[in-house]
Every structure is written in structure tokens, then in C-alpha cells.
């Protein structure tokens, strides 16, 4: 894809992120952080492509390591956020 287009997406997403998060209350800072951590595990997509490609064992092994780390991030991040948010629920 056109590099300039990708850079445009990147910059617009950064600004969008800033707009979305500027007024978040302190109560949610920690859950927000662990949830955004889970989201940064999106790199799992790249990891899956590498681990499942036929580009050689070395690529598969590096992809495999990336899959493990990214999955810890995704699963751990979402579950722990869920655990915290459950405590904030009104009774």
C-alpha cells in the first residue's frame, strides 16, 4: 500500500487516540492501561502470519515466539482488565 496513505492512517489514529482519552477519570487509569496493553497485543496478527508462513524454519520459530508473547499480552490483558472492572461495578 502507498506509504503516504499508511502514514496518514498512523497520524490520524494518534490524534484520534489523544482525543478519545484526554478526559478519562483517574478511577479508570489502571484498567485503561491494562486494556490498551491487551490491544497492543494486536501484533499477534503479524506474529500469526510469520509463524504460519512457509518462509523457513527460522521465520516460523521467531513467529512462534512472537505468538506466545503476544497471546500472553492479549489474554492476560483482557482478563485482568475484566477482573478489575468487575470490582468497579455498582452493587
Amino acid at each position: 500500500m502507498d506509504l503516504l496513505l499508511l502514514i496518514t492512517i498512523f497520524v490520524v489514529a494518534l490524534f484520534l487516540g489523544v482525543e478519545l482519552i484526554t478526559k478519562v477519570p483517574p478511577t479508570l487509569h489502571t484498567p485503561l492501561m491494562s486494556a490498551s496493553n491487551a490491544i497492543s497485543g494486536i501484533t499477534l496478527v503479524g506474529a500469526i502470519l510469520a509463524a504460519g508462513s512457509g518462509a523457513g524454519v527460522l521465520v516460523n520459530i521467531l513467529g512462534f515466539l512472537a505468538v506466545i508473547l503476544a497471546t500472553i499480552n492479549v489474554v492476560g490483558g483482557y482478563l485482568v482488565t475484566n477482573r478489575m472492572l468487575a470490582m468497579f461495578k455498582r452493587k
Binding site: A13, G46, A51, A66, I72
Partner: protein, 459 residues
């Protein structure tokens, strides 16, 4: 599955991530936000698994099983007091994952066939490695495997600068002549950079570091997206990057520190050394749980000020119990929350939520400060620097200008603390010597339990 379909599915995932983050910013919708974002992740993963480029599934499935098991185990067993360590470790894993994705692409000629891809690989390796090593130093500090205080690295600023320059040159070299082994040298340089960046940061600056590393882990995912032009990686990675930056900024503001000062471990120049004995000289009054309980019996408005000491003593449940007893007697109880109380942004709120403190009772600094004058008793538990009046009054003090909780304006102040030892900033606290202040020496949890017992007896 056709590439168009994959792209559309990634678009749907990106939109759900955005909606998820939007919902995560309000207490009422946060649970839904987390669900939306996890659905987005599921869509992105499933679609990727069905992608034509996948030839074999064995590595993927085994990797996901191992990672999923470890992640679930960590999330289930981690204590709420250890949340900062957990987040630091997750940041590190995220950065490490992006690093390995970039390295895998180094060996896949079909992926990195142009200079943009090579440049992206270089940048991802740099940020991913810094995040990986930096996060594990932060983890070690929080877990007290390393000293929690700033660890001086000789010639720190020059060393940092040299490593950054070396890293950038190596990225350039790799882009010009890929496959020249530059990338492995870059991994070494960047790992070292992560170490020397975080080692000198300590104590009260930890919330900033964690927020910053959170941001890096997102940026690493975004730059990994540039390697193969993957839009969902770019969008969700940069959302995380931006969110981490905002939290970093909030933390810096809450401590009246600039980001460069935090990064280079610079504290404001203190004037002459402040002598703790001089500050306290015979003016500190010690008290007993019985005496404090008598004071609470007649109090109408009480504000509890929790700090990291409360977390260390696991006293959040004991505090909640005390608040219950006071409320049953008709006392109005609130909690004053300083933005950097604890070791990561919002950590204190999580601990109090664990003890089922209703979040309506958690009052932020700007709102609670004017109320201290009408407060009969302020109970400070394990909070030190965030209540130090020097920040307001002493121009020569290193923490001058940092916004604090004005507990000294309350009619009576009870400070629950083991000793007169200083907090992270290493300063004596003149609050302890004030006329309206009483020290209740002891372990936070034990002292609060005794206090609650005494108050119950009074009925």
C-alpha cells in the same frame, strides 16, 4: 479468503477497537468497552488465521496455547497490589512480540523486499527492544528484585545519547544494505538503551515510566504494521501509543515534573539540605488507637488519605471496615485520591475498589482540597510526599510546585506510619510536626484494625 475481505474485516476490527477505547473512558461503559475491544481482537485473529498466506498451523496453535495459558494464569493469580508489576510485564511482552515479528520479517525475503519495509523493521526492532528490556527493569524495581530507588549510571545522559545515535545509524545501515548483520547489533544496542533509560528512574517517578512503556508497546505494534502495510496494526498500535502518552502527561503534571527531567533522572535542585531532626525537633506527638478512636467518635466529617503504604500493608480491607463502622455512627467518610498515589496511574482506585469502596466516595485532589477546612479528621495512611506542605510553602524544596493534598488544613490530622522515615522524595514532612497532627505509629493494617476495634468498643 480474498485480500479484500481480509481488509474489510480488519477495518471492522479497527472500528471496534476505537469504540472499545471510547467506552473504556467512562466507568459506566467500561465493561462494554473491554468486551468490544476483545471482540475486535477475536475478529482480527480469526480472519488472519483464515488468510491465504498461512501454510501451516502447528506453530501458531502451540504458540497460542502456551501464551494463552500463561496469560490466563497471570491474570487470575495476580494480586491487586501487584498490578503495576503485571502491567510492566505485559508491556514487556508486547514490545517483545513486536520485536520478534520484525526479526521474523528479516528472514522472510517476500515480506521485506523494499527499503520502507527495512526501515520499519529497524524502527520496530529499536522500540520493541527498548520496551522489552525497559519493562523488565521496571518490573524488577517494582517487585524489589532491584533497588526501587534511582540507580545511577555514570555518564548517563551521554551514554543514552550515544546509544540513541548508534541505534539510528544502525537502522540507516540496515535500510541501505539489508542482511548485513546490522539488525542484530541494533538489538544489542536497543536492549542496552532500554536498561540505561529505566535504571536511573525510581521511586515516585515509576507511574510515569509505566505509562511511557505502555505507550512504547503500542508504537512498536504500529511500526510493525508498517513492515507489511497492515492497517489494523497501525491503527490499534497508535491508539495505544496515544493513550500511553496522555497518561504519561497526566502523571508528569501531577508531580509538577517535565518528561525530560523524569527520563534523565533529574530532581529539582534542592537548596541547603533539610535536616529531619530540625523539622521534627520535639514537635512530633505520638498517639494511641484509643485516643484516635475518641476523636473519631465525635467527628462528623472524616477524609481518608491512602498512599502506597496502604497497598504495601494490604490494608485496603481494614480501611473499608473502619469506614463502615464510622458510617454506621453517622460520620461522613470520603477518600482523597492524589493522581500519583500508588505506583501506577489510578492504582489506588483499583485497590479501594477491591475492598468495595463505592467510587462515589473516591474524591479527586482538586475537588477534595477545598473541603479539608471543614474536615474534622484526616487520616493519612502510608502517604508521604503527596501530603508534604513543603511542596506548597518551601521554594527551595525539590518537590516545590507539586500539587498536594492539603490535609494540614483539616482540624485534626492522624498519620498512620511505621516511623518518621521519608518517602520516595527523601524529604522530611513538616506535616508531622504541625500542632494539629498526631502520629499513630505502627503497621498500617494493624493500626487500622486496632482503631476500628477501639471505635466499636465505644458504642
Amino acid at each position: 479468503m480474498s485480500p479484500t475481505f481480509v481488509s474489510i474485516a480488519y477495518l471492522v476490527a479497527a472500528v471496534l477497537f476505537i469504540l472499545g477505547i471510547k467506552n473504556l473512558t467512562k466507568p459506566r461503559t467500561a465493561v462494554k468497552g473491554n468486551q468490544l475491544s476483545s471482540i475486535a481482537m477475536l475478529i482480527a485473529v480469526v480472519v488472519t488465521l483464515l488468510d491465504q498466506q498461512i501454510l501451516g498451523y502447528s506453530w501458531i496453535i502451540v504458540g497460542m496455547l502456551i501464551g494463552g495459558f500463561i496469560g490466563a494464569y497471570l491474570a487470575r493469580t495476580v494480586q491487586m497490589t501487584s498490578m503495576p508489576e503485571m502491567v510492566a510485564a505485559l508491556n514487556g511482552f508486547g514490545g517483545g512480540a513486536s520485536l520478534f515479528v520484525a526479526l521474523a520479517n528479516v528472514f522472510d525475503p517476500s515480506m521485506a523486499d523494499n527499503s520502507v519495509a527495512q526501515l520499519s523493521i529497524g524502527i520496530t526492532v529499536l522500540i520493541g527492544s527498548v520496551t522489552l528490556s525497559g519493562s523488565f527493569v521496571a518490573f524488577g524495581k517494582l517487585k524489589e528484585l532491584l533497588s526501587g530507588n534511582p540507580i545511577k549510571v555514570p555518564g548517563n545522559t551521554i551514554l543514552n545519547g550515544a546509544l540513541v545515535v548508534a541505534g539510528l545509524l544502525l537502522i540507516l545501515a540496515n535500510t541501505m544494505s539489508p542482511g548485513g548483520g546490522w539488525i542484530f547489533l541494533l538489538v544489542v544496542v536497543a536492549i542496552a538503551l532500554g536498561l540505561v533509560l529505566v535504571l536511573p528512574i525510581g521511586g515516585a517517578d515509576m507511574p510515569v515510566v509505566i505509562a511511557l512503556l505502555n505507550s512504547y508497546s503500542g508504537i512498536a505494534a504500529a511500526t510493525a504494521g508498517f513492515i507489511s502495510g497492515n492497517t489494523v496494526l497501525i491503527i490499534s498500535g497508535s491508539l495505544v501509543g496515544a493513550s500511553g502518552l496522555i497518561l504519561t502527561q497526566i502523571m508528569c503534571k501531577a508531580m509538577n515534573r517535565s518528561l525530560p527531567n523524569v527520563l534523565f533522572g533529574v530532581m529539582a535542585e534542592g537548596g541547603e539540605k533539610i535536616d529531619a531532626d530540625e523539622v521534627y525537633a520535639g514537635k512530633v506527638k505520638s498517639s494511641s488507637p484509643e485516643e484516635v478512636a475518641m476523636m473519631l467518635e465525635t467527628a462528623e466529617r472524616v477524609v481518608i488519605v491512602p498512599g502506597y503504604g496502604l497497598a504495601m500493608a494490604q490494608a485496603q480491607h481494614a480501611v473499608r471496615e473502619l469506614a463502615n463502622v464510622m458510617e454506621a455512627r453517622g460520620t461522613d467518610v470520603k477518600y482523597a485520591i492524589h493522581p500519583v498515589a500508588g505506583r501506577m496511574p489510578g492504582h489506588m482506585n483499583v485497590l479501594l475498589a477491591e475492598a468495595e469502596v463505592p467510587y462515589e466516595q473516591l474524591i479527586e485532589m482538586d475537588e477534595i482540597n477545598p473541603q479539608f477546612e471543614q474536615t474534622d479528621v484526616a487520616i493519612v495512611i502510608g502517604a508521604n510526599d503527596v501530603t508534604n506542605p513543603m511542596a506548597r510553602e518551601d521554594k527551595g524544596s525539590p518537590i516545590y510546585g507539586m500539587p498536594i493534598l492539603n490535609v494540614d488544613k483539616a482540624r485534626n490530622v492522624i498519620i498512620v506510619k511505621r516511623s518518621l522515615s521519608p518517602g520516595f522524595a527523601g524529604l522530611p514532612n513538616p506535616l508531622f510536626a504541625k500542632d494539629n497532627a498526631l502520629m499513630l505509629f505502627g503497621d498500617g493494617k494493624k493500626a487500622i484494625v486496632e482503631l476500628t476495634a477501639s471505635l466499636k468498643e465505644a458504642d
